[in-house]
Symmetry: C2
Subunit: 402 residues, 2 copies
């Protein structure tokens, strides 16, 4: 257990913070990051995790746990890395992999962040947690809050798909529907909870979700036998996963589990209807200008402003990667293709990732002999509207009757 | 790799069969079982699986693979065993666990059986596979068929919930809706496919689904550090899981991974609206009389006649277990309770298991100090009708508006 303190992600000079107290953002407004005694952790062998239970807590020595604490867990993490043989063959690649995050509790990668956040919230003595969400984070938070016996308040955009609402309610969460998108939901959550002492687990305003998400990089390293892939293609909404994995690369290199030097190049994928990070990447700015009138079928990408924009952009640039925006039609097409070719039911954000990868190939950014990992962040089943437009027609057409 | 041949489950005296050819039922009409050279497998150490990828193929030496073959896999198996602390506390138990099979590809334990069946189908040179299903098996079969590049024909009861149809179609399967229940769908599949040479992967009419399902017992043994729980509570439709686990106990004892003697007692749970196995158990008969007018919200339990009825009953009886039928209301209540208390979204069949366990406690069949594993077989998200009756009201009631 090497967890020691919290530090400003900007290293603004503010004092290091004690994790035994509640913290959200640094006094300078930047996200806080969990820090560990990495020099001491050099003595921790990567072979020691080999026989542990296949969930994200197998890396618990570098997770935000203090001595004597146990995680709040539903078995999240260590999701399979699927060799997408048929999808790859059509693109002329034989080393295409999908990290299938839909095989997490509540069917999405949000389980990782919320398991870490709720673990710390419980340890801090919190009784009520709140979160704004496009859907999946709300489901995950509600489930872990139920598991921990905490009261959950979830704020969702009014046009969120029904399954997300229903699942929050089943876990016993209070749900508030808000006009607008996730940033509007965040404002509502913050206004409602400020005077009541609710513990806000918003993306990057809470320092531990990123620790849950970083485990995706630990797992990739372990699953690829301590070698990095050439490319990671990842959907970007709030950016926790991208920032978390970049942080994990630092940690993993520092403790010597993978040699320094050849990190994966990171491709951040957004939708053309909401692409603030892509625009900032192209314009070479450190921060992203908020996106006006965000609109995309991939709800999780409908994030007009990310508080950690500079961290996302830094990771993409330092990796030698790219930020790519994809249209709606290629997203839906990618969801269909992954299902038909390799039996995977991607969420629209996962479809965006595949579409983004195809665009990178078309643009000649990458070559076909490289080892590529696409992230599918959630299961497509909670997005009936996506296929209502396309697939129920299909149902009528091909469901014969005896 | 110790896979050798197929044998009649009744040991009727028919010759042993070569797995390099297609086989369905024994000439006597009983299901066939895959057999291994278990004496040779005694030299295989349980420690050798420890560092392997966390999916069901970690036990590949005792899986139906011939030399040089690789499985068709989407990462199925090695699902988490969740300590249901809050749910257990309410029942006065501190050793209540849920094996959460919803964290499989296509969200159900059917992935295990279909991964094994499609692996063998591909090895046999099959091009078209067919299956009758209540929903989850069809989704799983369609996904693995897509992954393997096979044509899939899925036969579903006409009243199946829409998400199951949609998901089959997304994987590119042909879907036929049939009036009636799964046995009617089976008849339709068989009539349609007989002259066309379709490879039928119906429950127990195909010998390898059981091999996929048996891995649940291998995993339980490994996850519980090679000690059996006192009780396994399991939903019974076609019975593959129950029969598969019982077969696995034999294998595991034979190769010495768990000492002979104290096997788990098996509780088979059905719904009062379709309880042929429970009735046969109570009446002490070897076979079950088909159930007339089967009806329950738990679609997977709506199986009026199971071809392996005698195998299911034998496992329950030899284990010193029981067969229990539960009403509809306790099923729905159990789904709600598991979500609110421990953050798990059970399918109705999983709800039936929890309800069955409560009934066993009430009837004094079991004591509160025992170690119990409940199986949740699938994710609740594909059953919107279940909560339409109860939870959308809840949604209206508690979704406040800003």
């Amino acid at each position: 257990m090497f967890f020691t303190h919290l530090e400003c992600s900007r290293r603004c000079g503010a004092p290091l913070l004690d994790p035994r107290q509640r913290h959200h953002l640094c006094q300078c407004g930047a996200p806080l990051l969990a820090r560990y005694d990495l020099d001491a952790a050099r003595g921790w062998s990567r072979d020691s995790v080999k026989g542990r239970a296949p969930n994200m807590w197998r890396y618990r020595e570098l997770m935000p746990l203090l001595p004597g604490e146990d995680p709040v867990t539903l078995g999240e993490g260590f999701t399979p890395l699927i060799h997408a043989t048929r999808l790859g063959a059509k693109l002329g690649l034989d080393r295409l992999y999908v990290k299938d995050e839909s095989l997490n509790p509540t069917n999405s990668f949000k389980a990782r962040g919320q398991a870490a956040a709720i673990t710390r919230a419980r340890a801090l003595g919190v009784t009520t947690v709140s979160v704004p969400s496009a859907g999946n984070a709300g489901n995950a938070m509600a489930a872990y809050a139920a598991k921990a016996g905490l009261t959950a308040k979830v704020f969702l955009p009014r046009d969120v798909k029904t399954p997300f609402i229903r699942e929050c309610l089943l876990y016993g969460a209070d749900v508030t529907l808000v006009d607008g998108v996730i940033t509007d939901a965040a404002r509502a959550a913050s206004e409602a909870g400020a005077s009541l002492g609710w513990y806000d687990v918003s993306t990057l305003k809470e320092p531990y979700r990123i620790e849950g998400k970083k485990t995706m990089a630990y797992e990739l390293a372990e699953q690829m036998e301590w070698q990095w892939p050439d490319w990671i293609v990842y959907p970007t909404g709030g950016g926790t996963g991208m920032v978390g994995m970049w942080k994990a690369f630092d940690e993993i290199e520092h403790i010597g589990w993978v040699p320094r030097g050849r990190r994966p190049r990171m491709i951040s994928v957004q939708a053309t209807g909401c692409a603030p990070i892509v625009r900032a990447f192209e314009q070479g700015t450190e921060h992203a200008v908020p996106w006006e009138n965000p609109a995309t079928v991939a709800d999780g990408l409908r994030v007009p402003r990310a508080i950690g924009d500079f961290l996302i952009l830094r990771a993409v640039r330092e990796s030698g990667g790219a930020a790519i925006a994809v249209e709606e039609e290629p997203i839906l097409q990618a969801v269909e293709d992954a299902a038909r070719d390799d039996g995977m039911l991607l969420c629209p954000e996962g479809g965006a990732v595949l579409a983004g990868w195809r665009q990178a190939l078309d643009r000649g950014l990458v070559t076909r002999d490289e080892r590529v990992v696409l992230f599918n962040c959630a299961n497509g089943n909670k997005y009936p509207l996506v296929d209502r437009s396309r697939h129920l027609k299909l149902a009528t057409a091909s469901a014969a009757t005896l």
